[in-house]
């Protein structure tokens, strides 16, 4: 019996560990994307230049795209600097264990290496652009070798504007993100030189200039979203309602759309747009976090018996000071057992897990 109990505890700990690793990968990826904005635009901004940046912006490939013509794509980040130069960026903190799947990423980068439509210019086009892979430092060399072998084998042309930039937390305390080019050249001589030697960028600096961004356009672990909602929104909301002695809680009536908008204003798409000169609700822009993520997270609260779904867009939250040492751990309780081990195709090389490889 004791052994069984130990096994269950071990499994719960493993699950929590995995969730926290995923959350930290997510935070690091968002921070890398944000710091890359700081790295590429700060000098530019100082000199009064305009810049635009966006996460998950929809761009359209040209009729001559080598991979997929005239299709919409949603890179992790799109950046445009004042010298009429743009970057289309994909960020990877890990890679699939199965190397056969790496070609998807190569194809994705080549798809971005195009005269894309959707830039913040009069004709939606830009003169110079790079397709950039931001890749976590522990995977950068391996992927560089893979990328070059594809070219050596004649599978792809070497005439491209694809740049591989490795990133890492600059030290054990992770307050900085370090960037350095592994292959290719940036179409801007100053930036190219900076990135060739490597440059670290301060996360706090980036947040204070470009928004306290906690999300990008991919859905995080629900525990992460729930923690932010509980800590930063519900805790403030409960101060506005009376304690209900019958229910033994502070009953909050929350509208899914209101919560989503507040998250977007504070930590999501609206925050980034506000600080990066982007018109909100522009046609090609994407919202994050999305209403559906918030709704799914609130459904988890219902499973945990701290919320009740009134309608599709309205929930009653039974708010209380939860007696737990760690809210992430508390919210993970809805997962009754450890997830099934990933299939070979999904398995990851590193400790990090990854949600998907977007095409």
């Amino acid at each position: 019996m004791k052994e069984l109990s130990n096994n269950i505890n071990q499994k719960m700990n493993d699950t929590l560990k995995e969730i926290k690793e995923n959350i930290n990968d997510y935070i690091t990826t968002v921070n890398a994307l944000l710091c890359f904005i700081a790295l590429t635009t700060w000098e530019n901004e100082q000199s009064g230049g305009n810049y635009y940046c966006s996460f998950g912006r929809t761009m359209t490939t040209s009729p001559y795209n080598s991979i997929s013509a005239n299709t919409d794509i949603t890179p992790d980040e799109v950046l445009q600097l004042s010298g009429d130069i743009g970057f289309v960026i994909e960020a990877k903190i890990s890679l699939p264990q199965n190397k056969d799947l790496w070609e998807d990423l190569e194809r994705q980068l080549r798809k971005y290496d195009d005269d894309l439509i959707g830039w913040w210019t009069e004709n939606d086009k830009i003169n110079k652009s790079n397709s950039i892979l931001l890749i976590e430092i522990s995977r950068s060399e391996e992927f560089r070798e893979y990328h070059e072998k594809l070219i050596q084998d004649g599978k792809y042309s070497s005439d491209n504007r694809i740049v591989g930039i490795e990133f890492s937390r600059a030290d054990q305390f992770s307050n900085y993100i370090f960037f350095r080019t592994r292959w290719g050249h940036i179409d801007d001589s100053v930036l190219d030189k900076i990135l060739r030697y490597g440059k670290k960028k301060d996360i706090q600096f980036a947040e204070s200039k470009y928004g306290r961004i906690k999300f990008n356009d991919s859905e995080p672990e629900p525990e992460y979203l729930l923690t932010i909602m509980w800590q930063d929104i519900f805790t403030a909301l409960h101060r506005e309602v009376e304690y209900n002695k019958g229910l033994k809680c502070y009953p909050l009536n929350v509208d899914v759309e209101d919560i989503t908008r507040e998250l977007q204003r504070g930590y999501g798409s609206q925050a980034l747009q506000k600080n990066c000169n982007i018109e909100p609700n522009a046609e090609r822009e994407v919202e994050f976090p999305q209403i559906s993520w918030v709704r799914s997270a609130l459904d988890i609260l219902e499973k945990l018996k701290v919320a009740k779904k009134n309608t599709q867009n309205n929930y009653a939250i039974y708010f209380n000071r939860l007696r737990t040492e760690d809210m992430v751990k508390y919210f993970s309780k809805y997962r009754k057992r450890k997830k099934e081990p990933p299939s070979e195709d999904q398995a990851q090389i590193s400790l990090f897990s990854e949600r998907d490889l977007k095409e």
Binding site: N24, W42, F205, A271, R321, E325, M327
Partner: protein, 379 residues
């Protein structure tokens, strides 16, 4: 003299302004035993007079004494103690910074403090003085009065780092609890002796009681002319010599409170129309996080932060947590950003009260440091 508090109350009722009450206090020289002028610094945002006038509790009643000043009498009706007294709240030259004055026995003050003042968080926040700030003020008091008085430290409420590191480690999971000892110490030492020993033994004062002895022609009187107390939570009291001691204390200890309120102001995203502020940092003197035990201890301390919910995103090898203040509704992200720095990152709602409470808690339970706006190398 059973009722020096009643005399103060009478004066408050007839006073036209604060100066009249303060002048009156200045002339009191003969306090009954264990009676003091108590002064408590606090932060309040809003109309403090109407806030106090509208306070309702089953444990106490407040009645306004005079429309010209913010002053009340209080009745505390608890099973074990029924006490009454009067107090007034003097605004400082800096908005939101106030000092509560009362004259009463130490016992009555402690009940008043516990039942009324401490329960008003987050509206009323008792402010914190660092040890370095307190010692600077004490040295200045000693220096200012040195021609006529000798200062001796009478009692110390202390926290001291455990000497036996091995013992600490062997306690395993209870390491955090065993890291410091708290105790009271009675002395008759000079201020410099006490400060030197404190430095040597890595001690923190929670409260310091000192006496001032009259000195005449190199003869030092045996009966103290005044007994004074100072606690790190913004409190000062004395039973004599108020007009010569307190201005020195005030001059030295009001500015750091004012500076911190200014530093903590307008940090939350919402009050800034979602334009982020810079983060804040607590910088410690030494690279304390090089020691993994200290790193873990910090994590333990944060786990035990009262009236809050915590989320730990990462605790090893780096530290990133979210703290939500249940009483105030604010939240703050904490990072250890290098071996000697903790980052405090304001979130959607982050109030002055919540920042003051958290910083005071870290200073009181972990280590004191310098709190300031984050300076980036990239700027």
């Amino acid at each position: 003299m059973e009722n020096i508090s009643s005399i103060l109350e009478g004066k408050i009722i007839s006073a036209k302004n604060y100066e009249e009450i303060l002048d009156f206090i200045s002339f009191i020289t003969d306090f009954p035993p264990r009676h003091f002028i108590h002064i408590q610094y606090l932060y309040f945002n809003g109309e403090i007079n109407s806030y106090l006038a509208n306070l309702k509790s089953k444990d106490f009643q407040l009645s306004q004494l005079n429309p010209n000043v913010c002053a009340f009498n209080y009745h505390i009706n608890k099973k074990d103690y029924k006490i009454r007294g009067a107090f007034f709240v003097q605004p400082s030259t800096f908005s939101n910074l106030y000092a509560i004055y009362s004259i009463s026995s130490s016992y009555n003050w402690s009940i008043f403090h516990q039942i009324i003042l401490r329960r008003q968080y987050p509206r009323i926040v008792l402010l914190y003085w660092k040890q370095s700030e307190q010692t600077k003020a004490l040295k200045l008091v000693e220096e200012t009065l040195r021609h006529n008085y000798v200062l001796r430290v009478k009692k110390l409420s202390l926290k001291e780092k455990r000497e036996n590191e091995k013992e600490k480690v062997s306690l395993g999971a209870k390491t955090a609890k065993a890291k410091f000892d708290s105790y009271l110490e009675w002395t008759n030492k000079t201020l410099s002796q006490v400060l030197d020993e404190a430095k040597e033994r890595d001690q923190w004062f929670k409260k310091i009681t000192f006496q001032l002895f009259k000195k005449q022609n190199e003869i030092i009187f045996h009966i103290p002319s005044a007994i004074c107390k100072m606690s790190k939570f913004g409190y000062f009291s004395c039973n004599n010599l108020y007009p010569i001691i307190f201005p020195v204390v005030k001059k030295e200890l009001e500015p750091p409170l004012k500076d911190r309120i200014l530093l903590f102001k307008d940090r939350g995203l919402k009050e800034r129309n979602y334009k982020p502020s810079s983060a804040l940092t607590i910088i410690f003197e030494d690279e304390i996080f090089k020691n993994i035990d200290t790193f873990r201890y910090f994590s333990e301390i944060i786990k035990r932060y009262p009236n809050s919910t915590k989320a730990f995103f990462h605790t090893n090898p780096y530290f990133h947590a979210s703290i939500a203040d249940f009483l105030d509704g604010s939240s703050i992200d904490l990072w250890i950003s290098n071996y000697k720095t903790v980052l405090l990152v304001p979130q959607i709602r982050t109030s002055i009260s919540s920042l003051e409470r958290l910083v005071a808690y870290i200073f009181d339970n972990f280590h004191e440091g310098i709190v300031e706006q984050y300076q980036s190398e990239n700027e």
